[in-house]
């Protein structure tokens, strides 16, 4: 418990920053309730028409389903790749580990727009060979998203492995367990929380990925962020406000549940 507490000046400044952080999230609520077709504040009556158009307009539903499909596939791919790689690093501690991990983290460090150009190059090259795997295909987007999410999944799994007691694995090894048995029956059950977190984070990152997706899709693979982007750039559609309100509510609920769960674990 810190004994050196922030004074009144600090508190006032912090409140101003907190307002700045929350204001744009609150501003979408009144906009989502406007009866007008354009982006305005409601001037008297409120309407749910923009929420209804989310359900009635098939484009929104289609893009949501597509984003879920891409998210599931890319999250599964990046979690499996990150898991096997991290197990290799942890169990065998090979030479050049630092360099290899550094290489894996590159897509996280390189400016996203450069990754986007790189993946655009990849998928347009592949398009010539395969029609369902290259530019503007959902599999292509899923693969590109995996490239972007795999460093985050790897970091999370490596962190949970670093908290694992090596003696557990040594005991299993001493008792004659094979590499496969050690990995699947000793190590993985002990880091399952880390694996699940890695898979969830990969899904969320893919679900909201827009920087790369813009470069590798045009008319077929319209993910939810891509559809939002189109609505934001042309004429601003208040349906985006309604969608934003829903996304914000889901985020707040998930964070609230998570903080309750972690508090419970902290105070058994």
């Amino acid at each position: 418990m810190p004994t050196y507490r922030p004074g009144p000046v600090s508190l006032i400044l912090a409140v101003l920053v907190a307002l700045f952080l929350l204001l744009p999230l609150l501003a979408v609520i009144p906009v989502s309730l406007t009866p007008s077709r354009m982006l305005t504040m409601p001037t008297g009556e409120l309407s749910l028409r923009h929420y209804r158009s989310l359900i009635e307009d098939p484009r929104w539903l289609d893009s949501i389903l597509l984003s879920i499909r891409i998210g599931v596939v890319s999250s599964a791919l990046s979690t499996v790749l990150a898991l096997t790689f991290s197990l290799g690093v942890w169990m065998f501690q090979p030479r050049f580990t630092a360099a290899l991990v550094g290489f894996v983290l590159l897509p996280m460090v390189v400016p996203p727009v450069v990754s986007a150009v790189t993946l655009y190059f990849l998928l347009t090259s592949v398009s010539g060979i395969s029609s369902f795997f290259g530019y503007d295909t959902w599999l292509g987007v899923a693969m590109a998203h995996s490239v972007m999410t795999v460093p985050f999944a790897t970091v999370l799994i490596l962190v949970s492995l670093s908290q694992l007691d090596r003696r557990i694995d040594l005991a299993a090894r001493g008792l004659g367990a094979s590499v496969w048995e050690r990995a699947t029956r000793v190590i993985m059950p002990n880091i399952k929380f880390g694996i699940v977190t890695a898979a969830l984070l990969s899904f969320v990152l893919s679900w909201e990925e827009i920087g790369v997706t813009l470069f590798i899709t045009s008319v077929n693979a319209i993910t939810l962020p891509r559809l939002m982007w189109m609505g934001l750039r042309d004429n601003i559609d208040p349906a985006i406000a309604a969608l934003s309100v829903i996304l914000i509510i889901i985020t707040v609920l998930v964070l609230a549940v998570r903080s309750v769960v972690t508090r419970r674990q902290a105070t058994p």
Binding site: P2, T3, Y4, R5, P6, L11, L13, V17, A18, F20, L21, L23, L25, A27, V28, P30, V31, M38, T40, M41, V80, L81, A82, T84, F85, L87, G88, M91, F92, P94, L100, F103, L106, P107, V109, V110, P111, V113, V114, S115, V117, T118, F121, L122, S125, V147, V150, I210, G211, P225, M228, W229, L232, I236, A241, S244, L247, I248, T251, L255
Partner: protein, 277 residues
């Protein structure tokens, strides 16, 4: 002997899939982009020459550096103010500060940019309110210009600036602060002459992260700048999809990577990676 061999095999088999995937899907295509920068539209160094001589490209680079510098100062200052309360406040203050930092952090960049459009546009919350209290008669232009870009980018980057600062403030020794106070130093003086200097590594780390992120930022400037204050990333996008001038887009990408790489190398000379989280 057999044991060592199978050890190596095991490591190789487990690590190979991800390494192979990233070589094929990332490293190799990046080399392709580098090749584009030297071969399109004609082989040679023409695209890099254009980077130096083209006044449009130059003005975009200068604007990007200027916006990144302003965003860095705004974000790190704001993050410092809220991190002090998050790390050192009373339990209730800490929960509230954490909520205000983490909720925006988890909300997508598009939703956040849209929130600023809703606040700052001509018929947005701020203009509507200022007009209704009679403070202004004509709406202020707050978005689709550099002001909107700076506000939106700072909003996005404040949570990222918080983590290195929080790490530095957490590892700070309480007793030094108490000693300063005990020796009669005022609250303000303790803050400026003891607290701030002792969190220097956090400030450097946080500023570098924000600055590097700002250089490659695409979505927020494109939406809140409205095509009027184009930054490097949007220029790359326009060169690839609207001109189409793939060679120049590729050359700008290569320069951006080299520049960011140099900045990161500089960062890690002063700050250990561990101190950033």
């Amino acid at each position: 002997m057999r044991g060592i061999l199978s050890e190596r095999m095991g490591a190789a088999l487990l690590m190979a899939p991800l390494l192979l995937f990233l070589v094929l899907a990332y490293a190799w295509p990046f080399l392709g982009v580098v090749k584009w920068s030297f071969t399109l539209p004609t082989p040679g160094l023409g695209q890099y020459g254009a980077l130096v001589s083209d006044p449009l490209v130059q003005s975009v680079f200068i604007r990007t550096l200027r916006i990144a510098a302003i965003v860095t100062i705004v974000s790190v200052t704001a993050a410092y103010a809220i991190t002090v309360v998050w790390v050192r406040g009373s339990p209730v203050q800490r929960v509230l500060a954490e909520f205000c930092i983490l909720v925006p952090f988890w909300i997508s960049v598009l939703t956040r940019a849209f929130g600023w459009v809703a606040l700052l546009s001509n018929r947005g919350l701020i203009n509507t309110w200022l007009q209704s209290i009679g403070f202004i008669s004509e709406p202020l232009t707050l978005v689709r210009n550099e002001f909107g870009v700076i506000v939106g980018m700072s909003h996005f980057l404040i949570p990222f600036a918080v983590f290195p600062l929080a790490s530095a403030m957490r590892s700070l020794d309480e007793r030094v602060l108490l000693a300063a106070r005990g020796l009669g130093s005022s609250r303000m003086r303790t803050f400026w002459t003891v607290f701030v200097p002792m969190t220097r590594s956090g400030i450097i780390g946080s500023a570098m992260i924000v600055f590097v992120f700002s250089l490659g930022f695409f979505v927020t400037p494109a939406i809140l700048g409205g095509g009027r204050s184009v930054m490097i990333a949007e220029l790359i996008y326009l060169r690839i999809f609207q001109s189409p001038d793939w060679g120049l887009g590729a050359a700008i990408s290569v320069v951006l990577v080299v520049f960011v790489g140099a900045l990161m190398a500089l960062l890690f000379r002063y700050v250990k990676p561990k101190q950033l989280v």
